[in-house]
Amino acid sequence: MNPKLTRRRFIKGVIASGAAATTTTMWYAANGQDRPAGFVERLIRINVNGQERSVDVAPQETLASTLRYKLGLTGTKLGCNRGECGACTVLVDDTPTYACSVLTHSMKFARIETVEGLEAPNGDLHAVQQGFIEQLSPQCGYCTPGQVMSAVGLLRANPNPTREEARQALAGNICRCGSYDSYLDGVMRAAEIG
């Protein structure tokens, strides 16, 4: 074997053998920074937290990317950007949705809610946020906005869930700190607060 190996040649070899490692290139393409020559981007309007927002969206741009990097709504977190962890969960027409796994262009007729949109105009926090504070549900907090949005989605559909129903509803949200017990305590408290 030739001991000299260029990175390109190596990658070609790996791809040819069908053992390609996960590439990150598509990830960044999805960040809306790709501007292929001759392609016309579209200025679209999306409804975020009750407001119509005009935003320049690339064809392959994810909703998480638009929210974070175009609209400055950094409450929506990216933990994995591959649909595994749920840190980017937002509500799309009341349904908890991984924002890293939907394209912004598919959101043109949807109602999107992020963690920034939960507070009342007078500053009162949503019951889920209050419940999470009272029970000290978050630890590091990075997964918390996603947990909040999944819980809000649950309580809209089922205002008085059992603990088991809450666990099932939040099962798509990973917490590496392992604060699941405290999040469930928070959801149950939120249901009491109403």
């Binding site: 000299k4 990658i11 490692a21 501007r35 978050p138 590091c140 907090g141 909040v148 990973i174 700190c177």
Partner: protein, 807 residues
Amino acid sequence: MAYMHIGKDFVPPDVAGKVTGRIKYSEDYTREGMVYARLLTSPIPHAKVVSIDASEALAMEGVFGILTADDVYPDGEANSTGLKILTNEPTLVGEPILAVAAVDEKTAETAIAAITVTFERLPFVLDPVDSLEEGGPDAYNGGNTFVFREGFAQEKWTSDQVASFRAGNEPTAEPAAELSYGDLEAGFANSAFVYETPFTTAGYPHMSMEPRSAMAYWEDGKLYLHGTSQSLTALADGMAGIVGVPKEDLVFINAATGGGFGQRSRAGSIPSMAIPAKLSQKINRPVMMRCTREEEFTIGGARQGFQGWIKLGFKQDGTMAAADLWIVSDNGGKGGGGDAFSATNAISIVYQAEAVRFRGVSIGSNTAHRGAQRGPGENQIAAIVSPILDKAAEELGIDRLEIRKLNTPQTGDVGGINRQPFTSAYMPEALEQAATAFNWEERITRSRQRNGTKVTGIGIGQGYHNAGRSGMDGIIMMGPDGRLRVHNGVGNLGTYSYASTSRAAAEVLKMPWDRCDVITGRTDNHLPITSPQDGSNSIFTNTRTCFGAAQDMLAKMKEIAAADLGGDSADYDVSNERVHQIADDTVGMTFGEVAQRAMELGGKYTGEAELPEELAEWTQISVSRLAGSGFMGVYHDPRHSNNPPGFTVTCTEIELDTETGKIEILDMVSIAECGTVVHPQGLKNQLVGGGVWGIGMSVLERHLYDPQNGLPASTGYWQSKIPTYLDTPLKIDTGWVDLPDPENPVGARGIGEPSMGSVSAALNAAISDALDGHVFNATPVTTDMIVNHIAGISEEWVPLAQNNFRG
């Protein structure tokens, strides 16, 4: 003792920011003119960079610059283990080779694709025992192990020695390290039950939720670094050296960190933050480096896996007479930690073994960087020992709770290879409390009961970690508004200990919490040095410093009052935000007035004179910048003596499905023994969070590498099998002993790590119980292992291996 704040819940100041999404992590920041860095990482597990041709890339529009190992190490890379900022000698797939800064990430990626890196490919190894065998590949350039103060070395066994180890026998090779106490031979001779077995524990990644993104810019000669860290001042102190900037010129900004678990406690475990710092310096622009999940996996650290041999001897009465361990630790691609020795120490401490010997060697593999991960060593071995303890109990006719009680550590005992006394130890109380909460006597009657395909298993386990340090500094300030400002250098990774330790200062001054501000989040808030927030130490270490700084302010308050109002300092006390005479509390000053007076007096009252001589350099810089700006309490904490332990006990009931191998945790109770409880909700979070980690270690988490190319196959959450809501019990019950430790002014010790060990120990014991006492001698115990055992097609013990399906 009745406290105003200690032992009471409160709302930590950052929690509202977490539930609203307002609190900022490093990737949430932007800066005018900010550009983006991307990494070119090694596609092969062991190589040398022969040449880099970046000419095409650097000519591209929108590309601002490149950073290579030659830039960051102009005198050459250190010939040692440990993560590098960038390297020309990668020893694992994904190790950063160079970084490119460009107008956006896509442009940076495109530029990287145009860079030709020529690698000289070197032999690689994924399993340390493969490397141990004569003629086997070495993970590092210069050997397969690293000897402290000596450098790289080769550790080789004969093929026969390796084959014998793999066949389950005690290794016959010379260990790199050997430590012992007691008469081991006599211990085994006096034992009525001796159990000897090979064992493996898997390595696996930390997988913090927040990838280790960082953003940096330079302004007026200062470096502003937005990063991620589980320690604040301790990490910044080390990071200044890694970047090569004077400590006084580094502003480290880190309001919140998305998880650490041991891998973000010290600068050396996260040198990648220096990449945007150095690129920014080179191209004179703010640089953001966002990291992906895959990058967080490859440079984000992992637990050391063990391939070992253990022999435990028990006397007829159940006393652990002897413990003998031989452990080959997986040091991964960049060197590792001391997990194996800590594991042996933990057996000595938790089970009070009369004679103990540790032998071991740490061997590299071209896999993820290894380093401290939640209870490094103590927790791996807890899961291995617990089922063996149960086997001894069964053979000797002793109840499984009782055998733990009679071997338990308690106040006055010593523990560990160095036979160190405990500051205090209330493990008997913890065992009793757990047994009562779990209703052990009734539950144990359900052991091994069958219901269709389901079998009930009952388990009990204990966890331990050393839980306290000392020798750090404290600073508190007060202005004419009378508010108490506690400057706290503990990181914010979700334990809330930056806030809960600050309450020790409020306690001393009897300040209402809503009149206190915790000053933290960025180092230009002038913070004292503290120990890295690892090893479960923060509660013990920093209640001491905060308490001490408040004592200093209290003494100064009394001095000022006595000087202005008459009498002696001893005639004064504080209450209701006033310093006043004890005999007549109408004679006194408000805290605002005394702070105003302190500022008029200056000198020692405002940090301008008579400072503790032993203050760390970092603290001296902070004090010098605060000096004269307010009334200051400042303190250097002397060293404590003896070992402040953190202990936990867990009991669990599971149902094991003999058809699928799936286990369901029906009930789980964890009890903490960590001195006086400072913050109940925070303690509960550590108990349940550690418990989830224990479940992961027991039955789920492990590394997987492609043996042909050395590529990691478990870079994501899903492949790493991080526990989810559905892998964990619907409810984990918690409790605590809450007895004071004499070496801490509020009686407190730490607790972050042990509950992982006790849960894992209890869970593996419960699985063993459900399978009629079968001991797998491995973590994780996966469903396929269980099914194969039930089908009678498994081997007696799990074959030794690392970084694949078996290890």
